[in-house]
Symmetry: C2
Subunit: 312 residues, 2 copies
Amino acid sequence: MLAIDQRKSLREMISTALGTQPDSVTPEDLSLVKRIVTRELSGYASALLTDPIYGYESTIDVIPRDTGVMLSIEVTGYNTVNSFERHSRLIEGFGVQKAANLGADAIKLLIWYHKEATRATIEHQNGIVKRVAEECNKYEVPLILEVVNYPKPGVDLKGVDYAREKAERVIDAAKTFSADEFGVDVLKLEFPGNLKMTKEFQDRSFSANQVAYSLDEVKSFNKAVNEASEVPWVILSAGVDPEEFIENIKISNEAGASGFLCGRAVWKNIVNHFPDSENMTRFITEDAVDYFKNILQSNSDAIPWYSHRRFS
Amino acid sequence: MLAIDQRKSLREMISTALGTQPDSVTPEDLSLVKRIVTRELSGYASALLTDPIYGYESTIDVIPRDTGVMLSIEVTGYNTVNSFERHSRLIEGFGVQKAANLGADAIKLLIWYHKEATRATIEHQNGIVKRVAEECNKYEVPLILEVVNYPKPGVDLKGVDYAREKAERVIDAAKTFSADEFGVDVLKLEFPGNLKMTKEFQDRSFSANQVAYSLDEVKSFNKAVNEASEVPWVILSAGVDPEEFIENIKISNEAGASGFLCGRAVWKNIVNHFPDSENMTRFITEDAVDYFKNILQSNSDAIPWYSHRRFS
C-alpha cells in the first residue's frame, strides 16, 4: 500500500529543498506533489492512503477504480503537553461518515504513543482510537491504526539507546492497540528495530556506523511484534531509503507481517525537483516506479490479512 | 452518462463489420472494444454503465475514481414468447449485493415493455423490476430502469406508423414504471419520437425522407413524458448518429429530462477498425471524444436529478 497523506512532513521536505520556511509552502504546492505521485504510482499499489485536505479531491480523477482508497482522519502533527507528551486531534468538519460517503474503502488514524505518558494523555489518545473505531464499525469501514512511538526529552531519536528501546515500544504498541476493546482492523507499525545499527549491515549504504544489536535480535523483535498483535499488521517506512526498507519488509513478513504501507521511502526525492512538474514527473516515472516495483517484489511473501491467526 | 454495457448488439456490430457470424465473436473481442472505449472516454462521463461479464473486471483499472459505475444486471437480449412478447432475465450468479460489493454506485436494469402483451408477460416483467428494486433498496444502491418498447409483428421499427405509435408508448412506460410501487430511482427512456421523420429536419443528414409529424409535436411528446414521469429521467441514444442525438437531447432537456445515458451514438464506428487496437484507439481519441464533448455541450441545460419535482 502506498502513502501520500503526508502534510506537515511534506511541507518541511519541500521547504528544506527550496531553502525556505515551511509556512511559505502553499496548499497548491502540496497538492501538486500529491497529484504527480498519485497519478504515476497509485496504479501499482493495492491501496492508496491519501488525505482529505490536499490529496483526495484534487487527485480522485487519477486514482484507478481498482486501487483501494484510505483516508487520514487526524490532524497532521501533534500538540505537545507536559513538556513532551503528544496529543492527537481529529480533522474538524470531517469524519468517518463523510469519508465513507466520499468513497473511502478504509480509514487511517495516526496516534502518538508513549506508554510512560501521564494517565490523562493515555486516556486522551485511547479515547480518540475508540471513538473512531466505533464510527468505523457503524459505517462498516475498516480502521487502520498507525501507532507512532516517540522518545522522552533528551533521548536521541537516531541514537543507539532509542534503537534498543524502540523494539520494546513497538511490541507494546502492537499488544495494546490490537486488543478487542479498541476495535482496530489493521495495525500500521514502525519497524521494531534499526537496521542501520545491526552488526550484519555495517557495510551497507544505510549503515549508521554504530552497532546496537545483531540481525538475529532484530528478527526476534519482529517475531515478538507478530505474537503481540492480535490483528493483521503492516510496517511503515518512516522515510528510510528503499534499500533499507526492502530489508525491513523481508524481516517483518518472515515474522508474520501482512506487507507494508510506505510513502516517503518511494517518492521522497521528488522534492529535489520541486516545483518543476516535468522533472518531478520524470523522477517518479523513471526512479520511484522502479523503487516501488523492487519493494513489491521483496513483499511477495507477505501474509494475506485473511490468513492472520485472528481469522483461523 | 456513458454506456458500454452492450453485449448482443456489440457482438452483432463486430460481426457485421467483419462479415462473419455473431457466434464467432469471442468474449475477448468484446472486452477489447470495451476496454478501449472505457479507457479513453470514461474520464469525460459523470458515470459509466458497463456489464459485469465482459466489461467491469477487465476495465476497472482504467475507470477513474470520480466516474460513477453502474452495472447491468439483466441478461442481454430477450426470450420471445407468444410469437412476439419479450421476456427479460437476470444474470445468473450475479445480483445487487454482489454489484454493491464490487463497488457499483448504481444498478441498471433493462426491461422490454409492450402494454398490449398478455397479463402473464406483464406480470413477469413487472416482477423482475420489483424484485431488483427491493434488493436495491436493501443494499442502498440506486436503480436506473431502462424501458425499451417494441412493435407488434408486422409493424416496421423504422416506419412511419411506429414513429407515431412510439411517443404514446414511451409516455405510458414513463407513467407506469415511475409509480411508487416499482421503487425506481431514475428512468432511462427512448426518445419519444423520431427526428428523422419531422418536417423541420428533412434537410438534415439523418433525414428518413418521410414525414410523420412536426417538431412541435415531438416537443409536446417530450413534455408529456416529463409530466408522466414521477422520477428523474434520461434519454438513451439507440445508436442514432451524434448529430441527431444532440437534437434529441436539447428537446428532452427542454421538456425536463436530466440528460442522457448514451453509448453507440458516441463510439459505434469503433467496430470499423476492429481488431486493430491502435486504429480503434485513434478513432476514439480523435473522433469519439469530439462527439462526446459536443453531446456534453448540448446537455448543459439538463435538469439536475435533485431538482426534479419529486424532491421539491
